[in-house]
């Protein structure tokens, strides 16, 4: 059935978890490419046949013409599916470039999902973003969410004593005492259950 493999390829992408890549399906991908070339060969032989019969290819409307049309349309459909597969994956790769491409190497478990060309695309796009930011002297990949008050009110849940020195102050963090701390300083203690954030 024409277009079945290409459909499977796109379906595989669409069924994946949003924003996550599966391994580039090279086998299926190459099978669709092969199909494209088969369609093209079939199309050309039909046109050759029309020419041999002395028909005007542009205007003739015989069985060969409609056969060729179907191969042409199948080829286009396959092409669109191939492009959609690569293009939609490229969108995820760009998101990754925004998130990590400017800072670090990609974690291996993500990188192994890429094809070689995708790996290169990730690097290229990260560079393009970096180049935009350096021309502007402004990082645009930080402050992704609206800012909050950098200070929060916390209550100490376990006696921590006075040995702790934070970025802008030191205090006696006795059990049940309340403090006004930088969010970034307090987060590690909150995460360990040693402090809690107070609202109201």
């Amino acid at each position: 059935m024409h277009g079945r493999k290409a459909y499977e390829l796109v379906k595989e992408f669409a069924d994946g978890e949003k924003g996550h890549l599966k391994i580039f399906n090279n086998e299926l991908f190459e099978r669709v490419i092969e199909e494209c070339n088969e369609h093209h060969n079939a199309l050309q032989s039909l046109i050759r046949k029309m020419q041999e019969e002395g028909l005007e290819v542009q205007t003739a409307r015989n069985a060969e013409h409609y056969g060729a049309l179907i191969h042409h349309l199948s080829l286009i459909r396959n092409k669109r599916c191939l492009m959609a597969y690569v293009y939609n994956r490229a969108e995820i790769i760009r998101e990754l470039a925004w998130k990590v491409g400017l800072l670090h190497e990609l974690p291996g478990e993500i990188q192994e999902k890429f094809s070689d060309s995708e790996e290169q695309y990730f690097k290229d796009h990260s560079k393009s973003l970096k180049s935009y930011m350096s021309q502007l002297s402004l990082d645009v990949n930080v402050d992704m969410v609206p800012p909050k008050d950098p200070y929060i009110k916390v209550r100490v849940l376990e006696d921590l004593g006075s040995g702790i020195i934070l970025s802008d102050k030191s205090a006696n963090f006795a059990r049940h005492s309340m403090h006004f701390l930088k969010r970034t300083d307090a987060e590690q203690y909150i995460a360990r259950g040693l402090m809690e954030e107070l609202t109201g």
């Binding site: 609206p146 008050d149 006004f180 109201g200």
Partner: protein, 209 residues
């Protein structure tokens, strides 16, 4: 690769809606003296003890958290007004009462950070919750009037309510529009006819040149 409208690109997150609400002005009564603040977003103060002053909500909350002021809840947050609003919401089926665009976010921020400054806090909170519920229900039932049109006025809808209906109503209206004007929105899977193509420069899909 056909251009599909992506709802993610145009929606505001809850944090972003709150961020916008934080710029609304509110009255505070400082308990300390402080020089004027010359911010990028405007000049505020000077601040004197017991003298009321208008500041953005984010600043009010920051000062409140640091124990430097009391916040005066806005007039619309009084029990009397909210009771009237709730009655009005219940009485009129189609129309919405006048409330600030960010009434949900403003009241939530005040409940979270300035509880002691709101007289009858529990009453106020339950009134606002009731108003919210009635309004959301009304939003849902009035959706049926949104049919086949290019422009609809939605008087007095709030930011949160807009955010709720946007994805659905936007898509529904677009579907109506597409249905009524099949020639205006290109659909690559549809066989082209000479007539619509001439009118709209649709891509050709024929083997001959």
């Amino acid at each position: 690769m056909a251009g599909q409208s992506d709802p993610h690109i145009s929606l505001f997150s809850a944090e972003e809606v709150e961020f916008m609400a934080e710029d609304e002005l509110i009255e505070i009564v400082p308990n300390m003296r402080m020089d004027p603040l010359n911010f990028i977003c405007g000049d505020f103060g000077p601040f004197l003890p017991q003298i009321a002053s208008q500041v953005p909500l984010w600043l009010a909350v920051a000062l409140k958290k640091r124990g430097k002021c009391a916040i005066r809840p806005p007039q619309w947050m009084s029990v009397e007004n909210l009771t009237r609003v709730l009655e009005g919401e219940r009485e009129s089926q189609g129309a919405f009462q006048v409330l600030p665009f960010h009434y949900v976010e403003i009241s939530r921020l005040l409940f979270d950070h300035a509880r002691e400054d709101i007289p009858d806090m529990y009453m106020v909170r339950s009134l606002i919750e009731d108003i919210r519920d009635v309004r959301i229900h009304k939003v849902e039932t009035s959706l049926e009037k949104f049919s086949g049109t290019s422009a609809v006025k939605i008087p007095n809808l709030s930011a949160m309510e807009v955010n709720i209906i946007r994805p659905f109503v936007g898509r529904a209206l677009q579907a109506f529009y597409k249905h009524d004007n099949p020639e205006k929105i290109p659909d690559v899977d549809r066989a082209s006819s000479a007539q619509t193509r001439a009118a709209n420069n649709e891509p050709r899909r024929q083997l001959r040149r």
